[in-house]
Amino acid sequence: MPVLEVKGAHRWFGGIHAVRGVDLTVAEGELVGLFGPNGAGKTTLFNLIAGAVPPMEGGIWLNGREVTRLAAFRRAQLGIARTFQIVRPFRSLTVLENVMASVPSAMAERDNDADDAMAILRTVGLAHRAHDLAGQLTLGMLKRLEVARALALAPCLLLLDEPLAGLTTAEISELLAVIVSLKSRTSIIMVDHNVRQSLAVCDRAVVLDSGSVIAEGTPAAVRRNPEVVRAYLGEAVTS
């Protein structure tokens, strides 16, 4: 059974048809890259999956259970964790408290205590800043904190919205290593414009354009797809 199934999802915002009948399946332990130009509907699709906005047509299933009409917090409690395109830390809390504030999903046995939270922070390389206020971290650290907060849910599906944006080359390498290491714990969907490095770690790539899926397959196949090259990649990446 797939971890996530999205069937025929549609979403309009006024006259804009942001997501047009998208079908998407994610298997257990799979890392799926979601690509496309700005305005392709990637973040809207994330919002539909995470429950921030409901789809107007179509449905969403998590581990075979329909979650289409469930609120965001209920989906999180069922195991859908997410990060945000623009980081949204709890700035008045410490790094450790940010992780401890998360409500673990039904798959976790109990609430995270300080030791559990520290172990999660070690995973993302933030243990040394555990007692600092989140508002004092650099962007690269905040991105890692968002991943840590998502991991505190013990998720079965992790949605990473542009985790590499704004990071230095060294920070990108560090965070990608963390993301790859998480595949043993959870399925992942990652949106990012850093196509070359993202494709290198994905098991499968899905490309959206104007709200529709225009290509899907292995990273190598997607890289060669003429429609993807025309709509998004251009010649430089494919060569």
Binding site: F90, L93, A114
Partner: protein
């Protein structure tokens, strides 16, 4: 290390609150004047009301203008219950429960929405309660209601100290709990809190009910103290403004802020009653404006920030040159 330091601060706060409340409770038997006792009573009254507001609005950022009306409901409920022959403890419990129930009317309709919807709902509620109470004959209509039993003067005094100390301790404790973390998280970013699995609407509703119950208990004790309740006084918007001014001046969202705010408010009110009677709310409004403009997060937070800043400076800068 930081966690144990925070725990030590909370324990110190609780012990200090209990010690000060015990000392104040003993004062009537140590020969203090009735005037000083009354001042302390009002200090405790504004502190309890401020902490009730602080619990909801200070911790979540959802500004309530209904805490005066909620206290008024508590006052009416206790007097009605006691006049019906219920014992004191049960009457106080009824008052807190009635107020919590009333808060559900506001909360269920507006807490699913963000900020301003809740604030407008509380303002509307404040006026609605006054209109309803003035029309109800069984609570005395516009003429009000009188407590039939005569209580000893020390009883409301001790009860108010208890409510104020209890509410302050609750603030000290809740900030150190997992629930407290989640409340602060939803204040920082509600959408991110939802994504972290926090049921923000339920949390806000529970918090508002508890906050209303404290406001109700505060109002109930004040009902016993005043013993004659007139709707135009009990449900005047003034009390709701005081309920938010006290924590805002001292430091909203902190446990010690309303303590400082209540002390300052009682002093300002007393001085102004002599030099400019009827002007105290205007002056309090100006003080609030000055605090918001120059101290932003209140007196306590500004002081703590200044002390931290001074400690962080290198010794030469921290001491500074001697004035010539």
């Amino acid at each position: 290390m930081a966690e144990s330091s925070a725990r030590r601060t909370a324990i110190f706060g609780i012990v200090a609150t209990a010690a000060v409340a015990s000392l104040c409770a003993a004062l009537p038997w140590l020969g203090v004047s009735a005037y000083l006792r009354t001042l302390l009573y009002y200090g405790a009254y504004y502190l309890a009301l401020g902490q009730a507001w602080n619990l909801m609005s200070g911790l979540t950022g959802y500004v309530s203008f209904a805490h005066g009306a909620l206290a008024g409901i508590g006052a009416y409920a206790v007097v009605i219950a006691m006049n019906a022959g219920l014992p004191l403890w049960l009457s106080l419990l009824c008052a807190a429960a009635a107020t919590a129930l009333a808060s559900l009317v506001i909360g269920l309709t507006s807490l699913r929405l963000r900020g301003t919807a809740f604030t407008f709902a509380t303002l509307f509620f404040q006026e609605l309660v006054l209109l309803i109470v003035r029309k109800l004959p069984f609570v005395g209509g516009p003429g009000g209601i009188v407590l039939e039993e005569i209580l000893p003067a020390w009883l409301p005094y001790l009860l108010m100290l208890g409510v104020a100390a209890g509410a302050t301790m609750l603030l000290l404790v809740i900030r150190r709990t997992r629930t407290g973390l989640r409340i602060l998280a939803l204040k920082d970013d509600e959408a991110a809190a939802n994504a972290a699995g926090i049921n923000a609407t339920r949390l806000k509703l529970i918090l508002f009910c508890v906050s209303a119950a404290i406001a109700g208990a505060t109002g109930a004790v004040h009902g016993l103290f005043a013993s004659s309740l007139f709707p135009n006084v009990v449900f005047a918007v003034d009390l709701s403004i005081v309920a938010l001014a006290v924590p805002l001046i001292g430091g909203a969202g902190t446990a010690s802020g309303p303590v400082v705010g209540a002390l300052l408010y009682v002093v300002i009110r007393e001085v102004l009653q002599v030099i400019a009677p009827g002007m105290h709310l205007t002056i309090v409004g100006l003080v609030l404006l000055v605090v918001i403009l120059f101290l932003r997060d209140g007196v306590v937070v500004a002081l703590a920030r200044a002390i931290r800043h001074r400690r962080a400076l290198p010794p030469a800068l921290a001491i500074g040159p001697e004035p010539r």
